[in-house]
Amino acid sequence: MFPAKESRFLPMPFHSLLLFIVWLLLNNTLAFGHILLALFFAWAIPKLVSMLKHGHPTIKKPWLALRYALLVMKDILVANIEVALIVLGPLNKIHPSFIAIPLDIKSDLGVTLFASTISLTPGTVSTEISEDRKWLYVHALHMDDPEQMIKEAKERYEVPLKEILGC
């Protein structure tokens, strides 16, 4: 299903799938004509743009990716309630903090996904990444124990991401 060597017919299978779904969502229909058009776009556009790019990121384990997405959704919900309580509560009790998280993940897509996940979940926003891509600088709204937080973020998000992207 996901060949190691990229096929010439479908150079970017996941981009094709995404294009197909987005086209149908934009038109909000399942009419036969639109499905045909979506299939055509999903085949033609990746074929046209694939030569512009070096090294396509591949998803090795799609089911794990789905589970990861559900985990992040749940964490967004929890994060929102936490942040709401902090915002509405007394502000002189919060201890904001800058921390640096060491990165094990190497690929562009992996780092982007990790930083975005950090931004969306409990009380942290990723601010900057070091030039050698080994450290991610994060601002936390309320921080009691930085080491515990770093460990948790790495275990919860980085390990599954590494497994999903296979790097």
Partner: protein
């Protein structure tokens, strides 16, 4: 529309609205730019998601067919919200905006702006641990 579904939609709408308001309250109340980033990026995403869920259910009933294209906006905001938060944080660091005094790890701000690895990271963690022990 049936009564229970209508009340469910109404509840989801109100929850979404409350989260949007909380995001804006955070924007007004929090003390410095770095903490202010937290309110809008998180709370507004969930608020919009709630409103769009309600809109999707209502228009599905109005048209008699399932309408899920509202989820496209949610998906788009979910992807772009962290990116714009990151860009604003980058700009704030670049201009050297001060964080409030009790922010820990302020020595990291300057290194982050230079995109250098944190030099005193391990030592600062150790000293923090030492401070906590007694």
């Amino acid at each position: 529309m049936e009564f229970w579904l209508e009340s469910l939609v109404a509840i989801v709408l109100v929850i979404g609205g409350v989260f949007l308001l909380i995001g804006s309250i955070g924007l007004v109340r929090l003390p410095d730019i770095y903490t202010r980033l937290h309110g809008p990026t998180k709370a507004t995403t969930l608020g919009i998601a709630g409103l769009l869920l309600a809109s999707s259910v209502v228009s599905s009933f109005a048209e008699g067919s399932i309408s899920i294209h509202e989820w496209l906006i949610t998906l788009f905001l979910l992807i772009t919200a962290p990116v714009s938060a990151n860009m604003i944080a980058k700009t704030a660091l670049h201009h050297g905006l001060p964080a409030i005094e009790r922010t820990k790890g302020q020595e990291l701000m300057e290194q982050a702006n230079r995109q250098a690895p944190p030099t005193g990271m391990t030592t600062s963690l150790e000293s923090d641990a030492k401070d906590k022990q007694p």
